[in-house]
Structure formats: C-alpha cells, structure tokens
Symmetry: C2
Subunit: 750 residues, 2 copies
Amino acid sequence: MAQQSNIVGEPLKVVGTRAPNLDAVERVTGQAKYTGDLELPGMLVARVLRSPHPHARIVRIDTTRAEAVQGVKAIVTHRDVPKLPVWAHRGYVLNERVRFKGEAVAGIAAVDAETADEALRLITVEYEVLPFVLDPEEAMQPTAPQLFPDGNLAGQPRVLTRGDIERGLAESDRVIERTYHCPTGWSGGMEPRANLATWEGDYLTLWASTQSPGRIVNALAALFDLPEHKVRVIATYIGGGFGTKSANHIDEALTALLARRARRPVKLQYSREEEILDSNTRYETKMYARVGVKQDMTLHALDVRYISNQGAYHIRLGGLGTQSTHLYNVPHLKTEQYRVHTNIPNTGPTRGVGDPQETFGVESVMDEVAHEMGWDPMAFRLKNIKRTGDPVARGGAGREDGRLASHAMDRCIEDGARRIGWERRNPAPGGTQAGPLVRGIGMALTERSTGGAQGAAIVKVNRDGSAVVFWSSTDIGQGSRTTMPMVVAEILGIPLTMVRAVSGDTEMAPYEPGSIGNRTTRGTGTAVDQACRDCLRQIFQTAAPMLEAPADALEARDGMIRVTGQPERSVPLRDVLQRHDRTVVGEGAMVQDQTKLDVERGPAAHFVEVEVDRETGKIRILRYVAAHDVGQPLNLTIVENQIEGGSIQGLALALGEQLHFDQRTGGCLSPNFLDLKPPTMLDVDPRVVEAVVVENKGEDKPFGAKGMGENPCHPGMAAVANALFNATGLRLREVPFSRASILEALSRSV
Amino acid sequence: MAQQSNIVGEPLKVVGTRAPNLDAVERVTGQAKYTGDLELPGMLVARVLRSPHPHARIVRIDTTRAEAVQGVKAIVTHRDVPKLPVWAHRGYVLNERVRFKGEAVAGIAAVDAETADEALRLITVEYEVLPFVLDPEEAMQPTAPQLFPDGNLAGQPRVLTRGDIERGLAESDRVIERTYHCPTGWSGGMEPRANLATWEGDYLTLWASTQSPGRIVNALAALFDLPEHKVRVIATYIGGGFGTKSANHIDEALTALLARRARRPVKLQYSREEEILDSNTRYETKMYARVGVKQDMTLHALDVRYISNQGAYHIRLGGLGTQSTHLYNVPHLKTEQYRVHTNIPNTGPTRGVGDPQETFGVESVMDEVAHEMGWDPMAFRLKNIKRTGDPVARGGAGREDGRLASHAMDRCIEDGARRIGWERRNPAPGGTQAGPLVRGIGMALTERSTGGAQGAAIVKVNRDGSAVVFWSSTDIGQGSRTTMPMVVAEILGIPLTMVRAVSGDTEMAPYEPGSIGNRTTRGTGTAVDQACRDCLRQIFQTAAPMLEAPADALEARDGMIRVTGQPERSVPLRDVLQRHDRTVVGEGAMVQDQTKLDVERGPAAHFVEVEVDRETGKIRILRYVAAHDVGQPLNLTIVENQIEGGSIQGLALALGEQLHFDQRTGGCLSPNFLDLKPPTMLDVDPRVVEAVVVENKGEDKPFGAKGMGENPCHPGMAAVANALFNATGLRLREVPFSRASILEALSRSV
C-alpha cells in the first residue's frame, strides 16, 4: 500500500521499507564494541563482595588484609558511599543493612581480576543476621520481618476506579472470582551489565551498557554533587536491554566511586549470576480478579486487586491497571495495587513492566467468564473491546476524558483469527481428542501507550548533503540507529546511505529519559522530525532566491530542493548547501500534548495453537500469530523482528523461565541459564511466530508510526493458558506452565 | 575600566577577567592526552621512507622483501594512493616524482616501530635523479629545472594597485629603493605532528594534531570519495600549531590509507626531523621596495615586488600586500607577488603567514626613508598611519571602499613609545657610544584582520543550568577552551565553572575552517554569542509566564532570569529550566558581512631596545614593548600571553632561527633544534617582553573583541633591524641578524 509521504500525493521513499539495519555488519562480524570490549590504558578491574544472607546488618567490616594485597588500588564499603538513595531504590550504593542474598557489600578495584578476587576473600564481614520474608502477602502481615522503618509497603496502594464497582458486580448477571499468579521473572539481556569509568579531574566519563544514558547522568551528577556538564555517559552497543538497563543501578555508581578513589579507569563487568541477582527482576504478581457480565454479552464490572513483590528495593514505575482500564469498555471498574518489599532482589522495569502479568490475569478471567457463559471468547471480546471514538482514560486513570483515535484492535483480531484459523479450535474445551497428544487454540489481547511523551534530537546537515542525527538514548537492538536515519532521509529527501546516527552519548545529544516504554519511535522520532524541518527551513531560505520562489513554497525530494509540485523548478541540495556555506544545525524536542495523552494507543491480538502431551506434560507451540496495529511502520523488517522477539519472550514466561528462591535460605536457585530456563531454539522455534503487521497510519509524528517494542511480550502467558484450556479443559492460573504443573493438573482432573 | 556588558549599564562579570585556563591543570600535570599519547587495541605503528634526492623520478620500487617481514601489516607507495591532489599542494599523498629531499616515498604499518624500521630498510627504490633548483629567482629562469609541466610559477602573480605607482614615484620629492630578504623558516610547534586512524567499515575516525579538524574531514572525504558524515576528525590537545597544523598534509591521508589497508588502527608519529621537513615552512621572501615621500613628511608612493619561495608544493594562501595596503595612507601603491616552486620542502601557513616578512620589508624601508629625510621615524609614521575613519581596502585589494572603524594605532604608538622611553634613542644612528657595547631603540608597526569571516557553534544548556559549548576548531594553546566558555558564562549569566568546552571534534560541531588567521575570537566567538542568545530566547519564553512579563523584556544575570532592570522580579535559571523540562539547544554561525569586511582591523606597535657587542656580534634584547589594540580582551592574561609568545617568535626570526639548505645536495642542514636554533630562555628572557594591552572595545561581536593571535609575530624582524641601525648605524637587510652577519657588516663599515 502506498502511504502518503510528507509530500502530499507522493509515496514514502524510505520510511516503511525493509532497509537492512545500518549497523548489521558491525554487529554480526563482531566489530561492534560493547562496553565489556573497551580497554583504557591503566585500567583496573573491579569485583564485588556480596552478602550471603537475605537480611542482615553489617556489624563490622574489615578491609585491612585486602588492602595489603599487592595490586589492590581501591576498596569501598558502605562507609564510603554518598548517603543518597540510588534512584528511587530506597537504598544507597552500598548499605549497612543488606536486604537480599547477593546484595553488594564491598567493591574492589585491582590491577587484574585474580588480584581483585583474592582480595575479596580477605575482607572480613561480621553480620547480625535478621529474619527474612520472601512472600509478599506474608510481608504485608504486621508480624513479618520489616525491611524499612516505615514498613514493607512501598508507598500507598495505587487505586484506579470508574463507576461503582460493587454496584456493577451486583447488577451483573454472572460474576466469577479467580486468583492468578506470576512468579518473579528474569529481565536481562544476553549481555550482562558492564561499566567503565574514568575521571579527568572532576569530569566523569562512564561507558555503560544502559538504555538510558541521560538518566545515569542525572543520577551520578546528584550522587557526586556535580553539575550535569561534568558527567558524560556513553552507551555504545548493548546486548539487550529489556528494562534491566533502563534504570540506574548500583554498578554505575560503584564503578565511578572506585575509579575516583583509585585515580585510574575501572571496569566492572558483571557475571551472569550478578546480572540476574543485582540488576532488577520482573515482579511477582498475585491477582484477585472479579468480573461481572450481562446476558447480552456485555462486560459490566471488573475488579482486580494486585499484590506485587517489589523485592528488597525497587525502581518507581507506573503501576498495574493499564490493561484493565484500556482494553475494554466496562462501566464499573476498580484496580488496586499493593507493592510490597521482601528479601528477594529488587525489581524494576522489564519488557512490558507489569503488563504481561496483568494481561495474564485479565485475559484469563475474560476467557473464563466467556466459557462459563458459553460464549465464543473472541466474539465476547469483539463485543466489548474499545474502538476508535470510544472514551479513553488519559494516563491510565479511571476518569475518561478523551476519545480513542486510530485504534485498529478489531482488525488485529480479525487478521489474527483468520491467520490462525480460529474456526479450527475445539468447540468444547478438551474436545473429544483421543491419544496423549491434544491440541487447542487460544487468544489474548493487549495494548499499550504508543510511547513518546519526551524526546530530543539534533540533526546536522553537512555541506555535501550528508547528515548526522544525534540523540542520547541507546539503540538497544530495536533498530533506532536505522529507523531514525530513515526519518531523516525521508524528510530531507536524501538516500539513507547519506545519514549517520550517533546515539547513546550524552556529550552532545540533549537529554532523553532513554529507550524505554515504547518511547523512541514517537519521542525521539518526533524530535528528529522537528529537527529535520528546522534544517529544511534554513535550507529553503538559502534556496528561495536560487529558485525565485518563496521559502515556504519549497520541498525536498530525491536530493533536490524544488518548488512544490514543480519538479522542473529544482536545484540539487548540494548546490544549495554550497551556497549556504555552513553546516545546517536543526534541533527538535517532543513534548507531550497533555490533551492528547493516550488518545492513540497500540493494540494487538495474539493467537496460539498448542499441542499438549498428556503423558509427559510437554507443551509444543505449533503456531503463534501476533497481530499488531503499529501505525505506519518505519521499517517493516524491524517491526516484524520486534513482534517475533517479544512474542518469544512472552512465551518464555509461559513455558518455564523463572527465578526460584529457596524458602529456607532466601537464596536464588536459578541465577544461571541452566536453572533459569530461558527458551532455546529447541523450546520455541522462532519460525512458529508469525508477525502480522496491521498498518494503520496514526495521526502522530513521525509519519503516523506507533511505538510498539513492549507490547508483543504481553499476551504470551494468557494466550497459552487459554489455548491449554481449549486443548485440555484444564485452567492453569499459575505461571509458568511447567511439565510438572501440567501433569499435576491432569492428575487432579482425572 | 568598566566595560559595558550585554546588559546595559552593568559591567562585565566574566569577560575581560584573568580567569585561569580551564584546562591548565590537565596541561601542566601531564593528564592532557595528546594524539601521540593515545592507544587503541591492536594499534599498529607507521613509519615513512623518504627520498634521498631533492628531485627524482621513481623508476622502480620493490616492497616484496619488506612485505615478507613478520609483523608488517601494510605498505603503500605512489601506486596505491588516490590520484587527487592533497589540498592545493599540486601533489598526491605519495608521488612518482619526488620534489624535495625528505619527501615521502612509502609508508609502512607494522606491529611495532622496530619492525617497521627494519622493513623500511628492505624497500628498494631505483631513482632517476633530476637536476634541482633551490633559489626562487633562479627557478624563475626558463633554463631552470622545471618542477611541474606548467613551470615553476605557482599561479599568476598577485598584484594590488592603487593610484598610479609610476606617477606617484615621479611626483615624490625623494625615492629610495632597497632590497630585503627573509630566509625559509620553521613553522612547527613543540609537538611534532601525529595521527591515529581507525576504520569501522567505511567510517573513518582520525585523531590528529591539527588546528583544523573540519578541513581534514573535507580533504579526507574527497580523497577517499566518502560523504562527510563518514569521516570524523578529533584533535584533543595539541602542542602548538602556528600554521603547520592548520592545513592538511600527507600524513593524515597516509595514516588513514595504511589503516584501511591493514584493517587495524594505525598511529603515525613524526620525528622532529620529519616534522621540520614534511609539514610546511615559512616561505623565503625577497622584497624589492621603492618608496617615495614628499617634503611635508607624507608618504606618496610605495612599490614592492615580492618573490616568495613556495618550495616543492604549497598550500594556497592569501598572499603578500596586506601590510603595504593597510598600514599607511599612500595614494600610489603597487604590490606584486611571484610565487615560485623550488626543490625545498613545501610551504604553508605559519604564524602571520607572509606578514612578518612583509613587515620586515615595509617597516625597514619606512625607517630608511625617514632617516634619509632626517625625520624621527615615529613622527613620520604618526603622520601617515591609517586612523579611524580613513579609507579601507576591503579584502586587501587596492580599491578603497570603506572606512576604518575603531582603530587605535595612534594609542598603540603612544603607549608603546612612553613605555620604552622613545626619547632615549640615539639621536644619530650609532650615536657616540664608546666601547664594544652599544645600545639602540627601534620600532615597527603592523596590523591584521581581526579574524572571523566564518565560525559555527552549538550551545547546550542542561536542565540544571550547566552548559556545554561545542565548536570544531582546536584550542591550539590560544586559550579558546577558556575564552569561549567565558562568552557563554557572560551571556547566560552563570559562573564560568558551570560551562564546559568541547572543541576539536567534528562529530558534533558544525564545520569551521580551523584555528587560523586570528579566526576563533570573532568567528567562533560570534557564533557562540548567537548560540547563547538562541538559548536565551527559548529560556525567556518559558520564563515569561513565570515572571508575568514578555519574553523580550527579560535578561539573564547572576544565575537568575529577571525582568530587565528589575532585579526584584527574578526567578532562578534552574527553576526556569526545570519548568522547561528539556535540554536547551542553541546554534549560531558567523557569516562575514561583506560590506564590513576589514572595516575593523587590529593594529600594533612594537618597540625594542637592543645592545650589540661590537666585538662578538652578539645582540641582546634589553626590552621589548608590544602594544596591541585588542578591542575588548576576552581574557587579559590570555591576551598578554599571546602578545608575549608571538613577540618571542618574531624575535626568533630576527635572531637566527632558520632552515638552511645545502646548495650541493639540496638537503636541509638544520632539521633539528640544535641547528635550527629556536631561541631558548638563554637567548630571549621572556621577561624582557612587555605586553601593552590597548583596550579599545570594537563594534563587532563578541563584546567588541578582536582576534589577534597572529599579529605579535609580525614586527620583530623589522623592529630589531631598526634598533640595530639606531645602535650601530648599520642597516641589515637580510634576516637573520646572526653574529656572523653583524660582524661582517661591522667590518664592511669600518
């Protein structure tokens, strides 16, 4: 389909194509330098001593023997760190009271890893061991061990309401009540976190594997009491972010502290175990859901109480309630979230944050109520989904104060259903299938903000017509180093090869919060769009006398500046720039128009066909269809890759990836890939995932694209649960659906 | 004196102070990283094979034995270089025909210097030796060896005329005719040139000890047929530029070629000898001057023919004629410059370019004619100098088409004369002094463009009120990394500690031609001024509703944004930025208003008292007073340091620093400090130089400052020659004034 370009009546030339990633060759040939690959002359290696107790007070810490080791250049303990919380963690870089097993207790920088490891063993720590609590509901009891002086609750419960929930439930023809549970999840990428810090006087440069260089500047400037121009953070390539790298953690500050103390560059490269334990996790969530429907198939009331396990510390995040408020029209709604601290590692952003957990609860209970009522769960959803023009609750609050725009959930459902063959599902759950292998089809919906809210960029057009675009967030694999240049090329009317991206460096680029929450496409993209138009304004001013036309009657296309609609009245861009005789610099910033907040959203419908072996409990994913309304795709291949990768990540949650904790010791039992069980190619063949791109050019910049990196991860657990039910008649309300849990459920049902 | 700030009625707070250089600590503690200090993993070391002949054709070059040496990773010869001239050199990176002794013939990159040196010896070159010529007047003869197919003249002669020179001379009451000569001079800094190149795919990063990163981007992009966004040049700290590092040379391209061929980073660090031979030199100049005066002490006619020895290749530069046209009102003028190629190393920019040589000729002949007429040479000059309101010839051409503005040559002469005690000079040259030691006082004037013409900068104001200023030229020791932040601090009304400079990196900053020709203060300074005001405009827009005043009624001062003239109606800048909630990005570009070209100039008067030992020929500089109209000094200490350093460099030319060439072999006899004889502390005690800063706030931005880095180097030779004459009665017309030449002149005069 020919999308409209910024030039009326002409198709897009670059945006919407399948341009290969501009940095693909560097990435696949190993030339791309990740933080861990970097070396600086005189660089030291850091190692971290960690607590063996899930909850304890450090009575005494003696580093004298470690300091005496030849080659040890710096040691820091809780005595040496600024007494300022790290982000909203409620903790310092190192704490006198440790709150999870594996929490950092001391850092050492030495000439090599062996020396640092040796010195680490020579630090003597005397702990006063304290009682600990791992379960969030236990932790809510007044008798539970308390992690903080003001108790274990992290702030007030988050409550969203609409209508009158109790009246809504009373008015319903049928009410069902269910409980769902998602365990603590892993949130990291293939590359464990790494930092390299160096100081020149009071000027700090930190290379970090981070999604959010700008936020780390803020955090370190505050921590070291420096103005922001004294801190530079550079993220080169990073090997997956998924949220773990979107917030600052203790490792950046620890590395910088050690480097300052040692007066030499220091690199801290986390091991896999450290990455899993001391970054952040996806929070465990328990959901108590009540749903009420009317006989006419309308959803009438939805009440969900969430208890989320924030672990020892946490990053303050937007909370749960989004899926409940945004997916369906429901007159009576209440969601309530309790965030509870326990003695497991701290939580934080993880692809989708709480949305995958919430989607599991909401999309399971919708399926359950449809079954109870004898409705086709797809028909039930189609009846109640929000559509373009329906009321929208800005910012996720209960109050509805806008109208949903450009929302193609219906097309996502229809396209997805057609692709999976919805009509093939078992009319009755479990059906009449004989033998051990049974099949079923399930679906789940989700949606999310299209991102944006903030973004900033600079575009520089050289005198030869080549361009460079700067922004401070990182390309975390989502391909922004390709899509942002595509926006530049499209608007400036030049080939993509004439554009280079410089991202992830706070030195030159304006502040951005990072590559988070679907933000880059709309946030940075809008800023890039503006910056390009700022450049064009200057270029058109110089071109105007050359073309004997007013500047506002010009357009840029095919390397030419021309009078709008008159390709014969044109002059090469290069000639205009030669006459301009200086670099053109444009800047742009996206600032969210609050009256349009959440008016445009990104819906998706996922469908899955599973096969269950009733003898072994093994689940096979036969097909997974993920249909997403992505607005105008900036790059079709990249959008498809996001859908495929995110879907697999959602399936991982369903199929077994989990952080297990030992109830007796409080320790994590799966701090490695073997026990954590992220899916391999043998578990989920990526070819089973079919990305369906529902093009639905939105109204927002750039070019009506919607940010969508988080969304594909949301529906996996719910879709698989619903398909399992359709295959076996068994309703699983606890994630993951391990062979053990399936066999146990099968044995119960016999 | 209280200069006006940008806020009417209030004194400047930062500009004009003696703020210490912001990078002083890094520089003096050795923390500052020069290009030669940089290391990259896997880096190779490059070495260059050089021609033993001043003129030869390479018949055969065999590198097979060198290639076989273990550890050799790349070799390039003339066969491997792009067939494009390097800059305006008229030569390629490596040439099949070499034109000076020491010209590069091949480059080798190897794992270490020893390996590269060993391999270098194994390259076999068969030369066809050609006849050579060293003297420019000889080279002008048709029978001379020809360096280029179109002969030895580098372009047409440059001719400037005003009035009718022959009529002017005929009308004069007295005409004298004299010949002056300045030899080929050294132009380097303490740090020999260094380059470090690395390629990522087709993206080249080059660290170079250069004044002009932007120009090198242009040159390398052209050479490698790349768009400019594929080339990044970074100059970190450089150890003196003085022109040698303002133009591209073969070493940047050679390093990049070797790195591309070896697929590894390559560093090429020139030795002192290579730096002296293969960068560029100050051109030898022969001057044939005729001057005519009237009895009423007016200068009536001035005719100078210059023959400059451009060496084997050259950088195209503004030519000679500036001092003749700009210093004095003279109705009949002609200057004519012939640029001639010879078989000595190529020439290029060197502090003051041709102005020191021309000043020597013009200010010697003015002194001579004054003596002939029995006039006080100062009175003669004061009678004829150009003053504010006098006609000015834009661009140095003969046609006078503007009026000189803000020109304080008279104050420079008066202040300088008072300081040196002009009345103490010998009334008659040589005077009646007894004994071997005689003293004398001389003077010389000069002037130059205040620089500018082009400049570009970006200023970023962080959300905490700290700022970063970016420009692409290098701080070559002139202190721009301090003065540009001072402009930012003054305009934004913040302390200097809240500003950081990022210069010398083409990645972010817009194109600038470099730190050349007095350019930075006005060129970059004006751009920085504009960029700051672009920031303020955005800041004022956000502040306006906070202060309930229109944006254009606001001003920035003392970290506050306030209603103009109402300090009680103010709000902290930080609060405004918090509300703005995004980085403020401003950009500025200086584009020369052609109608104002050369309307403002930077005049100076130098005075020197010398002592000559008539027995040994030794000259002692007793006092050296250098009075400069610098407009509004941005930083008084920096301005004084420029005057002192430049004056000593001028004295070096007078006292013996020189490149000698062997007439038989064509080789340079002084490619080292011992034979080159740059002055040490024992030759010129820096304390004898007295900088007199004549503040004379100009009309141009920033703050009426004038660029003046070149000027102090101009008058040394002429002032010393005139003082020598006053001391001894001997007129020396050949530079330098070595002990041998003085003893010879003394023996002739007896």
